[in-house]
Structure formats: structure tokens, C-alpha cells
């Protein structure tokens, strides 16, 4: 049997030639802002790293009462366990970062307009799930920081009027953060969230295949003859893979040079350590709530803060529907300024947050 006959045998059954033809016709726009096209792929790559390192951690992690002890074992007893754990934690942070870059680049390139509304919506849902991934994963080691982060974080749902406390108790598995909390967060982190995330991710990627990369309005304004494109396969894919390799190298460097620390085991009687603060991607909402609490004291401030957030996030999610003008080159100023305001508010509150850590 020659390789040609083997290829034909498989091709007849799986349609490889059609796939190759599809790949040949897929193109990617080339312009001054093409660099931002890589960030979705980088996010995808870091997600794959999360799956891989996550499964490796699963080999030794024990949720429940032994959670801290098993993470201590992974970090200090198993060969290279510290590295696997460090890679998982670092890659989680890098993934959130690259998803944010991806989101803002889509926003400012107006890639959410018709026919890509579902791409935007599914992307926002993926970001939402990713942040719950981050929040639940943070509790897994059950050290001091995990304990207080979860305690404080669950105060947010419990501030919802009427049903809030019940929701918080349900998530926490009782009135206090403890072994039941880590056990159910574990179920959430490794079963429920992946089961939600993976089909959504497949949908998101399928949409990208269906509609292709969006060109920003300034490029859309050009005549087809003036626009430049390059084939996806192999030209763009080669660069995409190079980006993955760069990401892997940066991750390996960070994970090995700055190993993720493991704190003291949590102790419900110990006071919160000085200088404790949320992860960087939760710093901004945390600081906004704090600032609002200064203006509006007490429960009113809390409720106003959550209301303001909800409105802001809903406005952000619904952008494709009120900035839907398709006219080429037309800059919808309002959406643009709203985006700038969001970036400014996020950066400013994050900086203030870090500035005011005591």
C-alpha cells in the first residue's frame, strides 16, 4: 500500500480534500492592526495549558479536609510539583489577561457588529466563566489567602437583596468557608465549569470560522482591491503557532523564576493578614465598591455599587445592539468613548487599589 492509497482510503471516509480546500480559501486581513488578531489564539492556547496542567494537578490533589495537605505535597514532595502548580496559576492569570486584551481589541475594532453579535455574546460568557474558574481555583489550596478571598468574594452575592444570603450559603456549603466549600468549589472548577465552557468555546471558534476575522471600519472603507489578505494556511497559522511558542516560553519563565507561593494553612481564628488584597483582575470592582462606600455609606452604598456594576456590564454586553451601524468607516463615537471610559475606569481603579494597599 502506498501512502496515496492510504490517503485516498481516509479521504473517502472523512473528506480530507474538502477540509484542505476550505483551509486554502480561508484568509486573514492584513493591516496595521493585524497584531490584535493573535490574542484570541493566545487565550485558546493558555486555556489548553490550563486543561493540561489541571489534569496533572488532579493526579495528586484531594479536595475537602485534606486540600491544604495535598497541595503542600504537590508543592514540596512530588518532583516538579511546584512547577506544574506554578504553571497552572501563572497561565490562569495570563489567560485572563489575554482574554481582556482580546475583548478590548474586538471592542475597539468594532468586530462585534453584524453578523458577529453571537461571537461577542459567547465571548463575554466565556470571560464570565473564566473569572468564576479563577475565583473557584483560588480556593483550592485552602491557605490563608484563599480563605479570605473566598470569604470576601462571597459577600458580593450575599449583598443581593432578599435572596443573596441564601445564594451565598448555597455556594459556601454552610455559613462559613471550610472543607465543604472547597469540596463544592472543586466540583464546580473541574466538572461544571468545563462542561459549560467547552461547548461555548466550540461555538465561539465555529463562529470565527464561519465569519472570518473582522476588519476594523477604516479597513472596511477601502475598496476590495485596496485591501490586503493572506491565506490562513499556512501563513497566518505559522505566525499563530509562533505566538503560542512565545507564550509558552514566557509562561515557563514566569512559572520557574517566580514559583507560585503557598501560604500558611487557613485558620478561621487568625486575623486577616496585613496587606491582603484581591487578585489583579478583581482589584477594579473591589476598589470601585470601596470608593462608592465612601460616598454612600452602609448598605445603600453596597446595593448602589452592585446596581452600577450590573448596568455597566449589561451595557457592555449589549454593545452590538446599540452600536449596530454598518456603514463603512462610520465611527460610532458614543461606543468608542464608552470603551475608553471603561478602560480608564478599570486602569484607574486598579492603580488606586494597589496604591492604597496598607
Amino acid at each position: 500500500m502506498t501512502s496515496k492509497t492510504i490517503y485516498d482510503w481516509i479521504d473517502e471516509r472523512l473528506g480530507l480534500t474538502e477540509l484542505a480546500a476550505f483551509a486554502r480559501h480561508k484568509t486573514v486581513p492584513v493591516h496595521s492592526q493585524s497584531f490584535w488578531y493573535y490574542w484570541g489564539g493566545i487565550s485558546l492556547f493558555l486555556f489548553l495549558v490550563q486543561c493540561f496542567t489541571g489534569v496533572l494537578l488532579l493526579v495528586y490533589f484531594r479536595p475537602g479536609a485534606e486540600a491544604y495537605e495535598s497541595v503542600r505535597q504537590i508543592t514540596f514532595v512530588m518532583h516538579f510539583g511546584w512547577l506544574i502548580r506554578s504553571a497552572h496559576a501563572w497561565s490562569a492569570n495570563l489567560m485572563i489577561f489575554s482574554i481582556l486584551v482580546h475583548m478590548f481589541s474586538v471592542y475597539f475594532m468594532k468586530a462585534y457588529r453584524k453578523p458577529r453579535e453571537f461571537g461577542w455574546l459567547s465571548g463575554m460568557a466565556l470571560l464570565g466563566i473564566a473569572s468564576v474558574f479563577g475565583f473557584s481555583g483560588y480556593l483550592m489550596p485552602m491557605d490563608e489567602l484563599s480563605y479570605f478571598a473566598t470569604k470576601v468574594g462571597l459577600e458580593i452575592p450575599s449583598a443581593i437583596p432578599w435572596i443573596g444570603p441564601a445564594i451565598a450559603n448555597m455556594l459556601r456549603g454552610g455559613p462559613e468557608v471550610g472543607e465543604f466549600t472547597v469540596q463544592r468549589f472543586f466540583a464546580l472548577h473541574v466538572v461544571v465549569l468545563p462542561a459549560l465552557f467547552l461547548p461555548l468555546l466550540a461555538f465561539h471558534l465555529w463562529l470565527v470560522q464561519r465569519h472570518g476575522n473582522a476588519a476594523p471600519p477604516s479597513i472596511e472603507a477601502l475598496t476590495p482591491a485596496q485591501r490586503k489578505n493572506e491565506p490562513f494556511f499556512p501563513h497566518f497559522m505559522r505566525k499563530d503557532l509562533a505566538m503560542w511558542l512565545i507564550s509558552l516560553n514566557i509562561l515557563a519563565l514566569l512559572a520557574s523564576v517566580f514559583p507560585w507561593p503557598l501560604g500558611k494553612p487557613f485558620d478561621p481564628l487568625a486575623p486577616a493578614p496585613v496587606g491582603i488584597h484581591p487578585e489583579w483582575y478583581f482589584m477594579s470592582p473591589f476598589e470601585m465598591l470601596k470608593l462608592l462606600g465612601v460616598v454612600l455609606r452602609g448598605e445603600a452604598g453596597e446595593i448602589a455599587g452592585i446596581l452600577l456594576f450590573t448596568v455597566g456590564i449589561v451595557l457592555w454586553i449589549l454593545i452590538p445592539f446599540y452600536d449596530s451601524r454598518k456603514e463603512s468607516g462610520q465611527r460610532a463615537r458614543a461606543a468608542h468613548y464608552f470603551g475608553l471610559l471603561a478602560v480608564f475606569a478599570l486602569l484607574a481603579t486598579t492603580l488606586i487599589g494597589y496604591w492604597t494597599i496598607r
Partner: protein
Amino acid sequence: MTDQTPLQLVVEEPGERNTRRAFLAAAGAAGIAYTAALAYPIYRYLASPQEMAASAAAVTEVTLKDAQKLPAGSVLMFKFGVSPAMLIHHADDRWVALTAVCTHLGCTVQYEPQADRIHCACHGGVYNPYTGANVSGPPPKPLKLFKVAVNDTGVEISRA
């Protein structure tokens, strides 16, 4: 960033082909080294319990405290290194220690005082409880014997 130049036929000089071959070889070697650098920590991580077991299996002697009080005609299961073993105090006051892992497919065997035999429930293997010899059934080899020394404080078991 345009890669849309049409395919061109380039006539290669023989020397050029050599540098390309050298380049591809170097790139391949770098790729293998990179993959190995990633795979090595993962392998060691997953092999950790195996390495721990290997150091535990390196024991040559086990002391069973107070085992001298074991009544005649009964058995005490213990771990020699990582694998199960048995100490039998026979009715005629002889002490025998053997591995308790069936040589057929690795089930843990049991001592049956009434039948005066060691029996494996998985596939019906039978061993002699004094010598460890495989008497009937599928086991291909005898159970290994340990040296036994009984004293006032316990029983010392060591590799024969």
C-alpha cells in the same frame, strides 16, 4: 507582511542544499531538546510515587513488635517494604514468613489453618504453608520465604 508572491522555481546550488539540510537538522534537534525539556518534569512528577515506593521497597528487615504473642495456628499480615507478607505461627510452634503475593497474577493469598494450606481465591492457586512451594493450581513459582527470628520483644523478619 505580504506573502503573496507567486511560486518561483529556484535552482539550488549543491552547497545551498547542504546548508538547508544542516539548518533542518539543527531545527529538528532544537525541537527535540525543547520537547524533552517539557516532558522531563512531567515524567518525574507522575513518577514520584513510584520513586517513593522504590525507596520503601529497599528495606531488608522488618521488626514486628509484640508479634511473638501470636497464638499458634494463626497468621499475621504485614507489609514488607510495599508489598503484603504473612507471618504464620504453626500449630507445631514453627514460625514461617512468606510473601503474600500470588505468583500467578498478583492477588493477595490467605492462610487456611483448617486445610493447612495457603490459598489464592482469585484462581484457586494452592501453596505449602511451610515452604511456600506451589502445590496446585496455576501459580508458576513458589512464594518467597523470609528469615524469621523470634525474641522476647517481637519478631524480626529479614530477606533470606
